[in-house]
């Protein structure tokens, strides 16, 4: 518990909570048009008292756009990770628990999928389905599933050979009860760690996808989209790239720090 309350984890958790709060509360607290209002006279203004973080090429306030973007980026990343856990968990559990043919087939497929760079797979799916918010979630979710399935299978294999599982089997516990009572609780810690780290990767992936124009589409605001829009103005207005870039970095940093500490505390293999 002591390690859990270390400065590192509190800082990481603080960053994550801050961004999530911003994403949830900001749209209620800030009038909607703050982030979308275009002021043609105030294009590419550097940070100032009027515009804390400056303005973009259409004269929109970057501070409010980063806040608005937080909502999109976090929502997409979270939904994608939830999706990959929801698909990966049963697949990994079935493969790991039952073994045999199902395991061989599933893991051969997963291993092959891992040859596809996650970003490439996500880009391809997004391009094929047509880039928009929902398809971005699907693309990232599908691209991350093999990683989760693989880790979950490994954890199930580890837990399934524990004496307490054998003892429960000897005591007449059925397969379903075994998974719910013994396997699931014991694989959850590493799965939570992996999900936290995946969340960081998903934020990066969403930024990458949107940066390439194959993720969320204008006029919605997402961090990747903001960086993409800044590309033509790097010389005159570097802050238009640095502001959303810093937002991504802080969010991902927070998740990674939190994930590191979670791993140290929860993962039985590091003990």
């Amino acid at each position: 518990m002591k390690r859990f309350l270390s400065a590192k984890s509190l800082f990481g958790l603080g960053l994550v909570v801050l961004f999530v709060l911003i994403a949830v509360i900001a749209p209620l607290a800030v009038p909607a048009d703050y982030a979308t209002k275009m002021v043609m006279t105030a294009r590419l203004h550097p940070p100032s008292f009027d515009h804390l973080l400056g303005t973009d090429q259409l004269g929109r306030d970057l501070f409010y756009r980063v806040i608005l973007g937080a909502r999109t980026s976090i929502m997409i990343a979270a939904a994608a990770v939830v999706m990959s856990v929801v698909i990966g968990l049963p697949l990994g559990m079935i493969a790991g628990y039952y073994g045999g043919v199902a395991d061989n087939v599933l893991m051969r497929l997963v291993d092959t999928l891992l040859s596809f760079p996650a970003l490439l797979l996500a880009l391809t799916i997004s391009a094929v389905l047509g880039p928009n918010l929902h398809n971005t979630i699907i693309a990232i979710g599908v691209a991350f599933t093999p990683y989760l399935a693989r880790i979950i299978r490994g954890e199930v294999l580890r837990v399934a050979q524990m004496p307490y599982v054998e003892a429960a089997r000897a005591a007449g516990t059925t397969d379903l009860q075994m998974m719910v009572r013994h396997v699931l609780p014991n694989i959850m810690p590493p799965v939570i760690v992996q999900a936290t780290i995946s969340l960081a990767f998903a934020i990066l992936a969403e930024a990458g996808l949107s940066f390439l124009g194959l993720g969320t589409q204008p006029p919605s605001a997402s961090w990747g989209l903001m960086i993409q829009a800044s590309r033509d103005y790097l010389d005159v207005a570097p802050w238009t790239a640095l502001v959303p870039g810093a937002a991504v970095a802080l969010m991902v940093l927070g998740l990674n720090m939190f994930g590191d500490v979670l791993r140290d505390v929860l993962d039985p293999r590091t003990k």
């Binding site: 002591k2 390690r3 061989n104 524990m162 004496p163 307490y164 054998e166 003892a167 429960a168 089997r169 000897a170 005591a171 007449g172 516990t173 059925t174 009860q177 009572r181 013994h182 609780p185 014991n186």
Partner: protein
């Protein structure tokens, strides 16, 4: 007083105190530890886990600092070859490196991880020589060959080219000893060097260390938890308890006339092989300060009462279990591990049958096969008139009510995320034996039975000690009122005093409930104490089976004889170390698919005493 105590000691430790820096502040590892050790003698430092004996050993090498420890106080006076004494506690790193491996050698517990997996034996044997003695590659190689010969390794030239993973545990430990002996150290520190080894290998290694000591007039600081090993190895003994040395003295004095209560209790709890000679039935372990007498009388009374007629509970006939070794793209079976090979025995109601043998002999697989936790290839398993192998999945689940299992590792046999009460209740819930209030009461009664306070009901496993967890595991096994409990090395991971308590609990339960135990163990002294029948396993087969007294007191199979002769006895007057014991290495149980082993045929040398033919 020994005559040579006039001579200055080689090492004298004076008021050593070691602290560890943890996140939450300083923790004292050892405190006020003082002892001396002279050339040519073995000092055994003995204690249970956490007593600080390893910390003491590491401090002498000043390796404790690499584990986050710090020598906070005390002197470690070490006599250099020129007679001058230096304080190791204040020695600089450069001089310390000169001493390590050169004047002081060390052997560690885990032979499997003591050698660097990616370097050859030659490189690991010679690098110390080249640094300390400045030998050339050829000279170091020649010396390495000599060293391998002195630790009795056959074909030393070939051994030099090998990598650690190609060697067995015993071989590796010999190489580690050769490494420690390379520069002819005057002090050898051995930290539990045989704990991870089988009993025959242990005997070999102990004899080897003892011979090297005598040949080189070397001092040996021997760290162990095993009183039997102490009796065999020690000239003098230091008993450690909670970071302090509580008693020091010559080995005979410590064993025959212990001063401290802790030492007395420790010695009492150790079973001595051979002490059951002439006793009819299993007896409780001695625990000092226990209400032993009363319970003993009761137990003796019950077991002495002539049984009507032994009624068989479990009959195993020609049980065979093999594991496939898979390979290739399609994961086909390319070979088979013959784990259990044509095993037959009968376990009577209310009795204990022990399966003993060394690691890999198939005793655990045999236990699991009976419960069908792993599927046997062939054979019959009859329990209470039911053929287990003929049952389908649902029938098997119900049949398992009659037989439960207790495992070795107390830390892994309980689900860390469930409350103890839930874990003990689970078997009853599975079979719908009780619900609600009644279930709670039954769980509480089971806690009473295994002598655990009811306040533990709501706790989680990590809040308990190893012995307490093993009690919970026993309570869980008892929950469905089984007739048979398979105890797979159930007390092997416990400290000796805790082991004695758990064994007594098991015997008590047997007397009260008429339980039968299949007691799987590598510890022959414990087996002698608790069992009615003994089966000795070797390479998947039972090589000798019969009443406890017949098998252990009059062993007829050569393997049983070797095994029993290798067991260290916790009595310094029965020294069993002889020069250079070598036992036959155990062959591999892996055979190609289609290999047909012969059937197990037995000679009945005495009524009920069977010995494998051939």
């Amino acid at each position: 007083m020994r005559a040579d105590m006039q001579v200055a000691p080689l090492l004298s430790v004076d008021k050593l105190r070691v602290e560890f820096d943890t996140g939450g502040g300083k923790v004292v590892g050892v405190e006020d530890v003082s002892f001396s050790i002279w050339a040519g003698e073995t000092l055994c430092v003995v204690g249970e886990s956490g007593s600080g004996k390893s910390v003491t050993a590491l401090s002498v090498m000043r390796l404790v600092e690499f584990g986050g420890g710090r020598i906070a106080q005390g002197r470690l006076n070490f006599a250099r070859p020129d007679g001058a004494a230096i304080d190791l506690a204040g020695t600089g790193p450069a001089l310390m490196r000169q001493l390590r491996g050169n004047e002081i050698g060390m052997i560690f517990q885990e032979p499997m991880t003591s050698l660097n997996p990616v370097f050859t034996i030659e490189r690991q044997l010679t690098d110390g020589l080249r640094i300390h003695k400045g030998l050339t590659a050829e000279a170091a190689r020649a010396k390495a060959l000599d060293l391998l010969k002195s630790v009795r390794i056959a074909e030393p030239e070939r051994m030099l080219r090998r990598y650690p993973h190609e060697l067995s545990g015993g071989m590796r430990q010999r190489v580690v000893i050769a490494m420690a002996m390379a520069c002819e150290p005057r002090l050898l520190i051995a930290d539990e060097p045989t704990t991870a080894l089988d009993v025959t290998i242990q005997a070999e290694i102990l004899a080897l260390i003892d011979r090297l000591k005598r040949e080189n007039n070397m001092a040996v600081l021997f760290i162990t938890h095993d009183m039997a090993v102490v009796a065999q190895m020690a000239d003098r003994v230091a008993v450690m308890y909670r970071g302090k040395i509580i008693e020091t003295g010559p080995v005979a004095e410590i064993f025959e006339n212990p001063r401290e209560d802790y030492t007395k209790a420790l010695l009492a709890a150790v079973p001595k092989l051979g002490e059951m000679r002439g006793r009819a039935a299993p007896e409780r372990m001695r625990i000092i300060g226990d209400e032993t007498a009363r319970a003993d009388a009761a137990l003796a009374e019950r077991s002495a009462a002539p049984k009507a007629k032994p009624k068989p509970l479990l009959e195993v006939k020609h049980l065979t279990t093999r594991f496939p070794v898979k390979g290739g793209v399609f994961r086909r079976t390319v070979a088979q591990v013959h784990a259990v090979e044509d095993v037959s025995f009968t376990l009577n109601v209310g009795e204990t049958l022990a399966l003993v043998g060394e690691s890999g002999c198939g005793k655990s697989s045999c236990g699991r096969s009976i419960l069908r936790l792993i599927e046997p290839q062939s054979g019959d398993i009859w329990i209470g008139g039911r053929e287990i192998r003929a049952l389908d999945r649902h029938e098997l689940r119900r049949a398992r009510r009659d037989m439960q299992m207790v495992f070795q590792d107390p830390f892994a046999s309980l689900n860390p995320y469930r409350r103890l009460a839930d874990q003990v209740a689970e078997p009853m819930q599975n079979f719908g034996l009780a619900t609600g209030r009644e279930l709670q009461d039954r769980v509480a009664e089971l806690f009473d039975r295994v002598r655990l306070p009811r306040s533990f009901l709501r706790r989680f496993p990590h809040e308990l000690s190893g012995g307490q967890r093993q009690r919970v595991a026993i309570a869980r096994a008892l929950a469905v009122n089984p007739k048979l409990i398979i105890a797979d090395e159930a007390v092997s991971a416990l400290d000796v005093s805790v082991q004695a308590q758990v064994l007594n609990l098991m015997m008590e339960l047997q007397a009260d409930l008429g339980l039968s135990y299949l007691f799987i163990s590598h510890d022959i002294a414990v087996v002698e104490r608790v069992s009615h029948m003994v089966g000795v396993m070797y390479l998947g087969r039972i090589v000798e089976l019969g009443p406890r007294a017949a098998v252990l007191e009059n062993p007829r199979h050569s393997y049983t004889q070797a095994l029993i002769s290798a067991v260290p006895v916790a009595d310094p007057r029965q020294k069993r170390l002889r020069d250079d014991l070598t036992f036959k290495p155990i062959p591999s149980p892996v055979h190609p698919v289609g290999y047909r082993p012969s059937a197990s045929l037995y000679d009945e040398v005495a009524p009920g005493h069977f010995v494998l033919q051939g």
